[in-house]
Each structure stands twice: as structure tokens, then as C-alpha cells.
């Protein structure tokens, strides 16, 4: 362990922030938070706060990158300079390029791209506060923003991270666990048909531990899905949709 680490991260089966091993932080989702964008949403895991906006489908330039058969998804993941204790230097980093790429790839699995040949769907995610699992929060927000924009999708995407802390597999690593934990494993699944659309591991896991982590992650993603679903229902409850139709 690195210098400055607390002696134990798990005491009597509880984590330092009081959570049980399989307990997620407080999560929150809201839809339609921005006016200008075609779709927008926020997603929060405790102190990790992501907002997403979708523009499109719209015309794609330059022309030669257009796909005559389907739309292209472009994604930008960005951390606000003030989102972390150490200031994040504005502009792209290798980390943000990689995360943008895997988010785009995950979203491409659920969006019905064939509906919009030659077009682009632009997804912008800003991390306003970062306390681990930022890519998961980004994806959870992005998929809700796409739904808010009325983009046809085959399923939602629900994402969370599991990790290994003090030798134990835990759900939703946060705070000091992120700095001193042994393993971080973000995962994203489509809640209805159970496709794994994002999966990464940093750190050492035995094959057995990995299986356990996978099971715990499934549970976590289900929890995220429930929150996403109720946020969508809140915004687009049947009465509201009818009200729009009557207008």
C-alpha cells in the first residue's frame, strides 16, 4: 500500500464510509436538465456527478466520414478542472480519449444507428465532481440523455464498478478505497438482455474472485437500472405524454 493509506479499509465487515461490502452509494438520475440540447441527463454516484447532453441526429461534416448506411456516434468525455482535488488540466488527455472511445462503442451497441444514415449523434459528458466510477456515471447519464433526445434504442445501459479492497470484493468503490484499493473493475450491461458492453480491469484478481466480482456487478447494474427507469418514468409518465399529445 502507498504511504498515507489508512491501516484498514474494511473494519468489522463495514467500509470506512459505513457501507456494507455489497452496498452502493446513494444514486440519483434526472432527465432533461438542459434546455438547448436535444436531450440531457445527469447521473450521480455519491460525490461522482456526471451531466450529459445529446445533439442530433444532425448533419455530419466533413462529408467523407459519413456512413451511407448508418449514423455515427461521437462522444466526448471531459472532466471539469475543478472536479478533483488536483486540478485537471483542460483539454484532452490520453485517459479522456480512451474513455470517450469505450463510451462511444458501448452506446453504439444500443442505439439503432441504421435509422439515421449519414448523420451524427453527438454525446457530450462533463464530469463535474469526481469520486471514482466517473466513466460509469458518464455512461449512465449519456444513455438517459439519448433516451431524452428521443433516439431509438434497443435497450438502456446500466453501469457500475466493483473493486477489491482489503482483500474483499466490494460494490461501488469510492473515496479512499479508490486511492488505496487493489482492483477497479468498471462494467456496463444492457439491463434487459444482459449484454456486457463495457468491461475493464485494473489490478490483480484470481479467476474465482473475478467470477464473484461479475456476480456483484450484475446486482449493482440492476440497481442503477431501477433508478434510471424511474427517472425516465418521472419525466415521461403517461399523463405527461398525453398532455403533450393534446397540445
Amino acid at each position: 500500500m502507498k504511504a498515507g493509506a489508512p491501516e484498514r479499509l474494511i473494519v468489522d465487515g463495514k467500509r470506512l464510509d459505513g457501507r456494507a461490502l455489497d452496498e452502493m452509494r446513494e444514486i440519483e438520475a434526472r432527465i432533461g436538465i438542459f434546455k438547448r440540447a436535444d436531450g440531457s441527463a445527469m447521473f450521480r454516484f455519491g460525490n461522482t456527478h456526471a451531466v450529459a447532453a445529446v445533439y442530433g441526429p444532425r448533419e455530419l461534416h466533413p462529408k467523407f466520414i459519413r456512413d451511407p448506411k448508418k449514423a455515427l456516434i461521437r462522444c466526448r468525455y471531459n472532466m471539469a478542472p475543478f472536479s478533483s482535488y488536483e486540478r485537471i488540466r483542460p483539454g484532452v488527455s490520453r485517459r479522456s480519449v480512451e474513455i470517450s472511445k469505450i463510451l462511444k462503442e458501448a452506446l453504439s451497441q444500443v442505439v439503432v444507428l441504421e435509422e439515421f444514415p449519414k448523420a451524427t449523434i453527438d454525446v457530450f459528458v462533463e464530469i463535474l465532481q469526481a469520486d471514482a466510477s466517473t466513466r460509469c456515471a458518464a455512461l449512465n447519464a449519456a444513455v438517459l440523455a439519448l433516451a431524452d433526445a428521443g433516439i431509438p434504442m434497443t435497450d438502456l445501459i446500466s453501469s457500475c464498478a466493483v473493486g477489491k479492497v482489503d482483500g474483499e470484493i466490494v460494490l461501488d468503490v469510492a473515496g479512499v478505497e479508490d486511492n488505496y484499493g487493489e482492483v477497479d473493475m468498471p462494467i456496463a450491461v444492457t439491463p434487459r438482455d444482459g449484454k456486457v458492453v463495457l468491461l475493464q480491469i485494473d489490478g490483480i484478481l484470481t479467476v474465482e474472485e473475478f467470477r464473484k466480482a461479475l456476480q456483484l456487478a450484475k446486482k449493482g447494474c440492476q440497481k442503477v437500472y431501477e433508478v434510471q427507469k424511474s427517472a425516465l418514468l418521472e419525466k415521461y409518465s403517461e399523463e405527461d405524454v398525453n398532455a403533450v399529445r393534446d397540445e
Binding site: K2, E98, E105, M185, V196, L199, Q200, G203
Partner: protein, 261 residues
């Protein structure tokens, strides 16, 4: 248009349980590793997997440590997809594909803790280990080839002598081998039309729906993982990819056994 035709062809073959080069789905092409190919580098390796060719070089210099690890060496992995390797590679700063390769390779080396970074301080400074991966010929499976090139070059690397009075690194005068205690190996499973294939060629990658790279250490533990591509994996497929990586990792690690002797 060329790629569209080969995509359909690859899918048709895969549906019949076949590959263009007649390999089994879980077979690698021939892997060759040659070290010491760049004498001015502290360590180097040329890795070929079939027609894919990657050159990796290690250069070392003295620099500032990270503030939270004052006595540890610093590892930096960079990948260049140079235009000679493929008609689709263009000059310029690394694009998202090159960056992803760098970061996946870096993750395997870093998380396996295969380099003993702790003993790499020199006074206030520490050794900065730059691993540069130069992709020379692209015929698919660049992640596995790059990871193999990187660890081979690190195994080959020797720390140069340092003249404390002159405060000068004596390049070309090796002091001791770079301390390496593990050999992470990346094995990528590609998914084409619902089937899992190892070591995909460029032609096969035109039909690739998704890939999952699993890096294992010598104890057969997982040290890093990365899913790529816009397709998906089922939970069963993920577990199969892990099994395959553990199994193949063992075989590939044997090829590298001789570098340190």
C-alpha cells in the same frame, strides 16, 4: 468496398467453423520474439505474430518522480501506428486507437507490478522508463503483439551506468538488468458473428464485432482487462475469454523464458 467483401467472406467462413488461413478458432499464428534488435536502446524486441510485426524499444533517462512515490521509477508506454504499417494509418499525433493500445499495454505492465520500480531512485531523481511501441506491419491483433513486444523489450533492458560526479548517464554501458519479476501476457478474444476467435488477422478484424483483452500474470491471475469494439459479450463469453487467456498466456510466457538467460 474491399473490406466489405472480405467482411462477408470472413463471416461466411466463421459460420462454417472455418478461418481463411485454416487455423482453429483458438489457435495463434506463429509467434517469434527477437530481442536486442536496437542496440542504442536500453532494451528492444521485435515481435511477429504471423505477418503482424511490432518493434518495441526501451529508453531510460533520469527525471522527477511522481510526488506520491518519491523513490519509484516512472513507466511510460507510447504507441505509434506509423503509416508504413497500413494504408489506413496516417501521420500525426496518436489517434484513439494508438492511445487505447498504449493504455491497455501500460495497464498490464503496471498492474502486474512486473517491474520493481521501488529500487529505481538515483538521489533526488528516478529512472524514467519509456517503452515505445512501433507498429511496423499491421495484420491484426495489434494489442497482443504490442503487449508482447513491450514486456520482451523490458526483459531485455539493462539500466545504463550513471556517473555521479559528472551527473551523466553513460549510455551504451549497461550497469545491471532492469529488475523484472513477472511476465504479463495479453490475450485478446475477438468476437465475429457470435463466435470467439483468438489472434484475429486484419482481414478477420474487418468483421470484428467486439474484442476482449485479458492480461494474466505468471500465477494465472487476471491483472488487466479491456473490452473494445461496439459489439457485446455475454457473461458466459467473458468467462470463456478469461479461461482462454490463462491457458494461452502460459504457452506464450514459455516463449519469453529465454530472454533473461
Amino acid at each position: 468496398m474491399l473490406f466489405e467483401t472480405s467482411e462477408n467472406y470472413v463471416r461466411k467462413l466463421v459460420a462454417d467453423g472455418l478461418r481463411i488461413d485454416r487455423r482453429g478458432f483458438e489457435d495463434f499464428r506463429e509467434i517469434k520474439v527477437e530481442t536486442g534488435v536496437a542496440p542504442k536502446a536500453e532494451g528492444s524486441a521485435r515481435v511477429t505474430i504471423g505477418n503482424t510485426q511490432v518493434l518495441a524499444g526501451v529508453k531510460m533517462s533520469l527525471g522527477d518522480p511522481y510526488p506520491d512515490t518519491p523513490n519509484e521509477g516512472v513507466l511510460i508506454v507510447n504507441t505509434e501506428l506509423v503509416p508504413i504499417a497500413s494504408p489506413t494509418f496516417e501521420p500525426g499525433p496518436p489517434d484513439e486507437n494508438a492511445i487505447e493500445i498504449s493504455r491497455v499495454v501500460d495497464r498490464g505492465i503496471r498492474e502486474s507490478k512486473c517491474i520493481e520500480l521501488e529500487g529505481l531512485g538515483v538521489g533526488e531523481k528516478v529512472w524514467i522508463i519509456n517503452v515505445d511501441i512501433h507498429v511496423l506491419d499491421h495484420d491484426g491483433n495489434l494489442i497482443d503483439a504490442s503487449a508482447l513486444g513491450a514486456i520482451s523489450a523490458l526483459l531485455d533492458a539493462k539500466i545504463p551506468k550513471y556517473d555521479e560526479n559528472e551527473e551523466k548517464i553513460l549510455y551504451g554501458e549497461p550497469d545491471r538488468p532492469l529488475p523484472v519479476r513477472d511476465i504479463p501476457v495479453a490475450v485478446t478474444s475477438g468476437k465475429i458473428s457470435g463466435k470467439m476467435l483468438l489472434d484475429t488477422t486484419l482481414e478477420e478484424e474487418s468483421a470484428l464485432d467486439a474484442r476482449l483483452t485479458v492480461t494474466t500474470n505468471k500465477n494465472g491471475e487476471i491483472v488487466a482487462m479491456q473490452k473494445g469494439g461496439s459489439g457485446f459479450f455475454t457473461f458466459e463469453e467473458v468467462e470463456r475469454a478469461v479461461e482462454l487467456s490463462v491457458e494461452k498466456g502460459k504457452e506464450i510466457r514459455k516463449i519469453l523464458g529465454g530472454i533473461r538467460d
